[in-house]
């Protein structure tokens, strides 16, 4: 087997051109977190070292993914094939603007999660492996954003799911196991559907490389055939489960309020968005004809998700469950972008994903701070937080405005793009309804967030406190959090929300580049197969 004893012309099968050191950035995010996760796992008994090590590796992850993003913007799409085996047989990591942007934003959120975790995860949680799990979760998330191979995408999904199971049961409470079972079962079904669809796709095309499939689909006489539509429908169901779209969304509010609040924060930021990312990747890049086929269905699902998510948020009085429904409403907006499918709509969906990653993580962290200040997650027991910390009340108001899509914060611009794209669309049967649903959902979310602000911040004390009077909050649970380490991550994320709101050009440009990269995938295909592709 050794190369020297048998003479074979390897240039037919292997890439022989030297790989620039900068191209290694493509695997850097997954590699850094994998090494960091392994190291933290070995040292997990050393609970004082854990946060330092974990945060250092997450910081390195942020730097690596930022450098990767800059390089992708400079050089266009970058591809690296594992083990130098040529595509489509070698597994390719292909990074375009979409993947690099999401990986960068995801890294920032994970870094903030690591900082927040230093305050909110106690030494038992650390010994059970909070930081190894967080790092390995990011291995999966970044791998999913950066890979150019459908089966490899499945593998990264598994990596992030296994880590997320670990994070979900970190405290070993009964309620956590209950949440983990609901989360686990539905996600297992989802990944199995994903795997089945991938098997069918391989059966049709004999390849799993995304660029290769997109070329082969484009060359088909009848790209909207029944077989492909079946595969696409399976993918849609699988990714809709991951993304928590109606009607397969019940697992999210049932499980996201059970773990440590920083775990909820990272999950709410990242996991559902990986599902949306996969949806964009598969439906816009690989199977565009099937997207046209299913557009009406996706639009319908988006509308129902938008409305039920927002109404669900209105009905809740537990802050974390309420936020779970707000996550779902946001998923509806991103699905709306996929349903419309124009470049404007997809860039709106990408921008919305970025906004949602940041703002949902920040909101869950804010919920943790509310618990720290008020001693409860229950709106009926919270109150008078404005009196306790005015600056935090302002931060929460900013986040609430942002998540509802009110100017001048980050949620406003992607919603404008999505509504604009939906109203412009003539082909979609529910185009107008879709645009209207985004607006109505935004209005309902405003009410839900306003309700939180009025009850938890404005009202003088817990439920029943008369107007104009103050009462002390009932200390129902011992606060989990302490110290100032919670303010830095919350501050970073809120600053991002404000920045994206006031300076949206940068992110709109990135999102548009990401959207046109999947919409017209010439650059993507050329990066994998060279000029002849």
């Amino acid at each position: 087997m050794a190369g020297s004893s048998v003479s074979v012309d390897l240039s037919q099968a292997m890439a022989t051109a030297p790989v620039a050191a900068g191209d290694w950035l493509v695997v850097a995010p997954s590699l850094i977190t994998m090494l960091g996760g392994a190291l933290c796992l070995m040292l997990r008994k050393n609970t004082d070292l854990q946060p330092k090590l974990g945060i250092a590796f997450l910081g390195a992850l942020v730097l690596a993914s930022l450098t990767l993003l800059v390089r992708v913007l400079d050089h266009g799409v970058i591809t690296m094939v594992m083990g130098s085996w040529l595509p489509p047989f070698g597994i390719a990591f292909t990074v375009d603007a979409l993947g690099a942007t999401l990986s960068f934003i995801g890294s920032i959120v994970a870094f903030c999660g690591g900082l927040f975790g230093a305050a909110s995860v106690d030494s038992t949680g650390r010994r059970y492996g909070f930081y190894p799990f967080l790092l390995l979760l990011m291995t999966g998330v970044c791998g999913a954003f950066l890979t150019g191979d459908v089966f490899n995408l499945y593998v990264w999904f598994e990596v992030l799911l296994i880590s997320s199971y670990g994070l979900l049961v970190l405290g070993n409470d009964r309620i956590q196991l209950d949440g983990a079972v609901k989360y686990g079962v539905l996600n297992l079904v989802g990944t199995n559907l994903f795997l089945i669809a991938t098997g069918l796709l391989y059966g049709i095309f004999g390849t799993l490389n995304m660029a290769d499939i997109s070329l082969k689909v484009a060359a088909l006489d009848n790209p909207a055939s029944g077989t492909l539509a079946t595969v696409a429908a399976l993918y849609f169901l699988a990714f809709a489960m991951k993304a928590a779209a109606f009607p397969v969304n019940f697992w999210l509010p049932a499980s996201y309020h059970t773990p440590n609040v920083v775990v909820s924060a990272v999950f709410a930021g990242l996991l559902t968005k990986v599902g949306v990312y996969a949806l964009i990747r598969v439906f816009v890049l690989i199977l565009p004809a099937s997207r046209d086929h299913l557009a009406d269905l996706i639009a319908l699902v988006a509308i129902v998700t938008l409305i039920t998510g927002a109404i669900g948020a209105l009905a809740q009085s537990e802050v974390r469950r309420l936020l779970g429904y707000v996550v779902i409403a946001g998923i509806g907006s991103m699905l709306a972008g996929v349903a419309v499918g124009s470049t404007l709509a997809i860039s709106g969906a990408i921008f919305y994903a970025v906004h949602s990653i940041v703002v949902m993580t920040a909101l869950y962290m804010a919920a943790g701070v509310m618990h720290m200040l008020g001693g409860s997650y229950d709106l009926r027991k919270l109150g008078g937080l404005y009196r306790k910390n005015v600056a935090f009340a302002g931060v929460f108001l900013v986040l609430g405005f942002a998540v509802s899509g009110l100017p001048p914060f980050s949620g406003f611009w992607p919603k404008i793009m999505l509504v604009d794209a939906a109203f412009r669309d003539d082909e979609l049967r529910f185009g107008t309804a879709l645009g209207a649903a985004i607006l109505v959902s935004g209005f309902l979310t405003t009410l839900a967030m306003g309700r939180v602000w009025i009850f938890a911040f404005w009202r003088g004390g817990p439920e029943g406190t008369p107007d104009g009077q103050t009462a002390d909050a009932v200390e129902v649970e011992a606060p989990q959090l302490s110290g100032g380490a919670v303010w830095l991550p919350l501050g970073i994320l809120t600053a991002l929300v404000v920045y994206f709101g006031l300076q949206p050009e940068w992110m709109i440009e990135l999102a548009t580049q990401g959207a046109s990269g999947v919409d017209q995938p010439f650059g993507y295909q050329r990066s994998v197969f060279g000029e002849q592709g």
């Binding site: 191209d23 590699l31 392994a38």
Partner: protein, 139 residues
């Protein structure tokens, strides 16, 4: 389960299984075998030893916590893929070091290092599950 026959035979059986697992690991490059299956055999050896002589003696015998072994394996596997960085090649491109000891050709390679990493991950992960279950049973 703790009959005298089993307790007498288990240490020898475990030792044999670990030896066999290393054999399976090393032949894996060209023939059936490899890190994963080798790791499973070694983990079974730990499990058998645990059933016969108690989990505490297994933990003493392997010195490190199984999850630590697992972490080390992952670390090693990831590093094995990075060696190609210094030769301007893509991640995980295999690197070979071939030398001759008298007449025998010895081929060391990064896939071997990777495979040993996989072996350790499997031993650690499956081993810690098995030991945890046996501990639960003993309670």
């Amino acid at each position: 389960m703790r009959t005298i026959i089993f307790r007498t035979i288990a240490p020898y059986l475990s030792a044999l299984m670990v030896l066999f697992s290393v054999f399976v690991l090393l032949r894996g490059h060209n023939e059936p075998g490899g890190g994963f299956i080798g790791g499973l055999i070694a983990a079974s050896a730990l499990a058998i030893y645990g059933i016969a002589c108690g989990v505490a003696s297994v933990r003493r015998a392997i010195v490190f916590h199984p999850m630590g072994v697992s972490g080390f394996g992952l670390f090693m596997a990831a590093l094995a893929g990075m060696l190609s960085f210094f030769k301007d090649q893509a991640f995980m491109t295999s690197q070979w070091l071939i030398f001759h000891v008298s007449d025998v050709e010895v081929a060391l390679s990064t896939p071997l290092v990777f495979d040993i990493g996989v072996y350790l991950v499997v031993v650690g992960a499956i081993g810690s599950i098995a030991l945890a279950l046996e501990e639960r049973e003993a309670d």
